[in-house]
Symmetry: C2
């Protein structure tokens, strides 16, 4: 399988697939002409990575998850730990973003948005905090 087929199969751009090889997440074979030759196992790994990345796992966590997936003697506790850590980072980000959104909503609502210079948004930014 050539890279563009793998790209279609996994939804990952060819550039990303090459990058994942660069950082050693996959080790595809090579054809005589130098083209990458992807096995089914490479495609599975890439699909796994695509899914894990879409859930927001950092690439290094994806590497660990992939290793655990390959390890039949793994303990599910190790997987769960990674997921829980990631989940709490997401929760953290969510609460920061929610706070930002609430403040911004209030400010946007309070701003006339006309051709006059008075602006509660700028007033807020300039006020001491």
């Amino acid at each position: 399988m050539n890279i563009s087929e793998v790209s279609k199969a996994t939804g990952l751009p060819p550039k990303t697939i090459r990058y994942y090889e660069d950082i050693n997440l996959i080790q595809p074979l090579r054809q005589a002409n130098g083209y990458r030759a992807f096995r089914d196992s490479d495609v599975h790994k890439l699909a796994f990575l695509a899914r894990a990345r879409s859930l927001g796992f950092p690439v290094e966590s994806c590497r660990s998850l992939l290793a655990l997936y390959d390890d039949e003697t793994r303990a599910s506790a190790d997987v769960k730990q990674i997921a829980k850590t990631h989940l709490s980072e997401i929760d953290q980000k969510l609460s920061e973003l929610t706070a930002m959104r609430d403040t911004l909503r209030t400010l946007v609502k309070a701003c006339a948005g006309d051709d006059r210079p008075d602006c509660p948004i700028l007033s807020d930014l300039a006020a001491p905090h």
Copy 2:
């Protein structure tokens, strides 16, 4: 005012203040010894930037907001537009993160987290999507 005092006053690390000068957000004067000499107006700008950044505005938006703040003939509509654009990007991110969180929560809850290898998290990652 020296950089460490400004840092204390604004909550921004000295490195960040130097960086903001590098990208021309502020133009502090220099003392004879080469040290930066911050005026009150520099400190005010930095505080403004710190607040805008804490609301998640990208640095380039901060630059625009600062310019509008300085412009007494501004239209509040221009400020509001920037804020609304930013707000919708936050809303976008929030919905992505919320979806991730919901999926992860379900998976984490379903995982035994013991010393056995069976793991619904890995099963999900390996399943077609």
